[in-house]
Symmetry: C2
Subunit: 346 residues, 2 copies
Amino acid sequence: MCPFWQLDTGNFFTDNYYIMSSFDQIVELIADDLSAIEVKLTEHTASEYSFVDMAVQHVVEGGGKRLRPILVVLSAKVCGYEGNDAHTLAAVVELIHVASLVHDDVLDEAAIRRGRETLQTKWGNKVAVLVGDYLHARVLSMLVSRRADDPAMAILADTTQAMCEGEVIHAYKSGDFDISEAEYLKIISFKTGKLIAASCTLGAHLRNPTDTQQVEALTIYGQHIGTAFQIVDDVLDFTEDADKLGKNTFGDLREGKLTFPIIYARTVCDDDEKQMLEKVLNPNTDEAEAIAFVEALFQRYGVETHCLKVAQDYADRAKAALTDLPETPARVALEQLADYVVSRES
Amino acid sequence: MCPFWQLDTGNFFTDNYYIMSSFDQIVELIADDLSAIEVKLTEHTASEYSFVDMAVQHVVEGGGKRLRPILVVLSAKVCGYEGNDAHTLAAVVELIHVASLVHDDVLDEAAIRRGRETLQTKWGNKVAVLVGDYLHARVLSMLVSRRADDPAMAILADTTQAMCEGEVIHAYKSGDFDISEAEYLKIISFKTGKLIAASCTLGAHLRNPTDTQQVEALTIYGQHIGTAFQIVDDVLDFTEDADKLGKNTFGDLREGKLTFPIIYARTVCDDDEKQMLEKVLNPNTDEAEAIAFVEALFQRYGVETHCLKVAQDYADRAKAALTDLPETPARVALEQLADYVVSRES
């Protein structure tokens, strides 16, 4: 990596660039793109039926970090693309993501998400399942108008299929206490990794679909930060306070969901602890008791530290994948984003 | 309509044609097409993950009448198209339909469908929501490979959006005892009518997309039989025994769902009965009491007869829309299908 003063800063240079160190600064770097994406999100999800519109806007405006749109934009920029099509694709991936969250919340019976009531809390399960379906229908509409040789449809068809497969297998395996770390990593690469990777692939494709080297580099980058992102998500469920997280802590544990920290803890603890761990994952176990046991166990074996180290390894691999890309501010932002995915607090 | 001996029987003429009078005979007329469609359905929903595959095949093979595939094939044939693309489009519309049933079953907490256990009975809500999503992802895959100027994607994007809007509005209005017949008909034209109409539109498009007269005639036909179909579905929920129906009778009533017979009964009964009707739709009312009251009320006001008459009016309008189409066996089959939709017992 060359020193910053030799960087080609492109046409999105900002004064803040030299001190860019946090997610907010990445957001500032591409603020105009993100505003344009918000407009597209609202435009393409509007319904002439006021109740549908209200329910859909509730989840679309629910916000979140817009990580996937950011990845589309930065991947496009690092490959030298500056056009508006990145905004459309960014909106498409975000809607696929929001639809999956809406259905996740139904499945998890979640009451709050990002500090707001979930759809099923406000209007019931039925509306929530249907709003997820509606968002998928709107994604299809957005894809209809694309060029015949556009790879986006094939990539996203493949991605949405893999996301569902990952989710179905995770749901099916939820009772299997003996799931291996490798199996779990495969599941999360499908559930979470695929769409994050697709965001990078789609962005990279915009400039020059035939430069397979750049497309592949960014796809690998996306896969790795996807895995890092999910591992950190799993950790935050145990460590973060509910206010910052915008949802209930210990949600995964309360549902008896096996996640990365639990799977790791199981491999390092002794037989008695392992038995107890299996017991506390049973929803019938007293919740306070379960949480106290898991917190003590995690402390004893440094589970949080270990998991964050694994996540950082993935983030480092993600950054390494960018080596041959032009040394632009977009690349720096992608590198910093990889670290942010691990260091974030919510 | 000319006498049968003057009919141009096309290349799918069978000996049974002259006595064709039932749904089974229509099925026999296009048996080869329907077999080819079953192959496509299995092929395009296969997953390399055995559990996903098992869950998906459970619902896809669950069968049903394949009404929508039949409509694609007959609409294509009546316009003179005999190629294989009808099979792909037929499989696509059927998968959209199956996906919507899977999600409906989750919403309705249905335990059986078409005489088989529903997905959520076998593997839980989570798997059911996800299998519905998976089917949508596969539909996207099937559409990816189509020609750029193919209208199917735009038609289906529009259709799936309308289906969701219809469902969301129906869910939202479910507590509104004063919903008008016109409002309800609008909702069912979205929920049910759109996909049935789209099946006809897509079939008609295959032969000659620029002959808007034929496309429009078949779309109108589809809209009307779609409405007839849903009204009859609503009636069967009250009148059919569970064995024939393949699901629980009085399911709609037990959920407090306002359907066509109830909406009609409300407009003809006296004030006391209206008050009682509103009360029995409340899920807290004793079920046996609710059913007895509704059965007596329907008897008193001839609700079943009235609703079937309305459905037959729609079927007649559907048939009238076909007037200018060539007088082929496919047209006769479409006419008979319109009557079958009303006379069917399950």
